[in-house]
């Protein structure tokens, strides 16, 4: 009762967490390493690129001590590609999240494999990998998906929050006029919001109807969580009695061979005694 917030993270909380995303900066001044709770930041020496958490990057940007290199997925061409995929190629699904980082070993050029053991399906491969690099346990927010090298054409989990922050506070660092990027971003927001609404029709029929939320971003989840949870809960309640009947029938069919026809419930009670 005392907590007046709804279940799950609010938009402001999501935006706060998104500031832990790592981004790439080009420093304009030297800056020594800072000892933060999350570890030491790299020394900044112009013109070498470095990775910093978004909140720190924004602070340095405001103080004109660094420029931010926007992630590749924010380039207009990348955004246009994603919009094309979302509208033309697969108008039903959300475009997939970025693939886990992969790299070829020096000893075996041409055979790239995933760096992140938790994503690897093959167990033996996992073991090999973790032997080679015990530190490569990566998951968001430590999986850098908003640095300059992050793959184009994929929306990371915190795409909207990071994009809004960068467009607002580092608009002059964009690879294209900020207005162009922003308008593509608006289109994407609208396309995906409409998709979110129409995705609910999957719940109309009986059977194993479910909602797929793969590829949906943190901010989109925060916005739709209460509605979708309410919707699914309503569907569950409406189907509850039919579901109970179905289970009873299944149960009876399963026991049908053991007991003679009627009076099942009674024999059940007798068994209990």
């Amino acid at each position: 009762m005392a907590l007046p917030l709804p279940p799950g993270l609010t938009q402001n909380e999501v935006a706060f967490l998104a500031e832990m995303e790592m981004v790439t900066v080009v420093p304009r001044q030297r800056l020594d390493s800072i000892d933060l709770l999350g570890g030491k930041t790299p020394q900044l020496r112009p013109p070498h690129r470095a990775q910093l958490p978004l909140w720190l990057a924004l602070l340095l940007k405001k103080q004109r001590r660094a420029n931010i290199v926007p992630p590749a997925w924010m380039h207009p061409a990348s955004l246009a590609e994603i919009i094309h995929r979302e509208t033309k190629e697969d108008p039903e699904a959300f475009s997939p999240p970025p693939p886990p980082p992969s790299r070829a070993l020096y000893s075996q050029p041409g055979t790239a494999r995933r760096l992140n053991p938790s994503y690897v399906d093959d167990f033996t491969q996992t073991q090999q990998n973790s032997q080679q690099d015990p530190n490569s346990i990566l998951s968001p927010p430590f999986l850098p998906s908003n640095v300059a090298e992050s793959p184009a054409g994929y929306l990371p989990y915190h795409w909207l929050e990071v994009a809004e922050a960068l467009l607002t506070h580092a608009g002059d660092d964009m690879p294209a006029p900020a207005g162009e990027v922003r308008s593509l971003l608006r289109d994407l927001v609208e396309v995906r919001a409409a998709k979110m609404r129409s995705s609910t029709s999957a719940l109309e029929g009986f059977g194993d109807a479910y909602l797929t939320l793969r590829g949906v971003g943190a901010m989109e989840l925060a916005e739709n969580r209460a509605f979708l949870a309410g919707l699914v809960d309503g569907v569950r309640k409406i189907g509850a009695s039919a579901e109970a009947t179905r289970r009873e029938e299944e149960e009876e069919a399963r026991r049908g061979g053991d007991y003679g026809g009627d009076g099942d419930e009674d024999s059940d009670e007798d068994m209990g005694l």
Binding site: M1, A2, L3, P4, N12, E13, A15, F16
Partner: protein, 216 residues
């Protein structure tokens, strides 16, 4: 034609409205009494229906009486549920108000649903409280309990803002004299109309209470 349970229903409809309000509407003393009276009347009816049987009532032999008894019993049970739900909604609301730092005087001085915090100059007059005397007691004691609970932590304000911080330091203007406060960076004297650049955590409470206004 009024039926048993109708009054209880009215009470629950009040509770339903209360759920959507930010303030607490007046306690329905009369309605609560009427529902309680209905329960007593029903109980008397049951007693007089059962009296001739001298404790050896057989439902299958007296179906009509059994049916009447059941109706009476269900009506009492229904009324009880309505009463409990009504009061529970209100105590939930009271607890919420305590957590939000509401003042008992604000509540007590409230007439019908006026906005909070307009009670100055209204004290001493014959104001009608929207709380029943028991609720006022509940409010006070819950406030004490919360203060006791909060007192265990000196660094964390359990009733503080739940918004993630934007900036550690903020500009504030003083709306009412708030005296001197101690901060990590020394004492600040908060006199009306002065402005300060302070740590948000130090003054959060004063902002909620209306002493300070956040700028920018």
């Amino acid at each position: 034609m009024p039926m048993y349970g109708d009054l209880g229903n009215k009470l629950v409809q009040h509770a339903k409205r209360t759920q959507n309000l930010s303030h607490l509407p007046p306690y329905q003393t009369e309605l609560v009494r009427a529902v309680a009276r209905e329960i007593r009347d029903l109980d008397k009816d049951v007693a007089s229906l059962l009296e001739p049987f001298q404790g050896s009532f057989d439902p299958s032999a007296e179906q009509a009486t059994a049916c009447t008894l059941l109706v009476n019993h269900l009506s009492m049970r229904r009324n009880k549920r309505c009463l409990l739900a009504y009061h529970r909604i209100r105590t939930d609301k009271l607890e919420e108000l305590v957590w939000n730092g509401a003042d008992i005087l604000d509540l007590a001085g409230q007439t019908t649903g006026g906005p909070k915090g307009v009670t100055e100059g209204n004290e001493g007059g014959g104001t009608t409280s929207s709380l029943s005397p028991q609720e006022e007691d509940y409010f006070r004691q819950f406030g004490d309990l919360l203060a006791l609970y909060k007192g265990q932590w000196t660094d964390i304000d359990l009733t503080g803002s739940l918004e993630p911080p934007r900036d550690l330091f903020i500009d504030v203007r003083v709306l009412k004299d708030a005296g001197e406060i101690q901060t990590e960076y020394g004492a600040i004297n908060l006199t009306k109309n002065s402005q300060f650049y302070v740590r948000q955590g130090d003054v959060e409470r004063l902002i909620v209470q209306g002493y300070l206004q956040k700028l920018g």
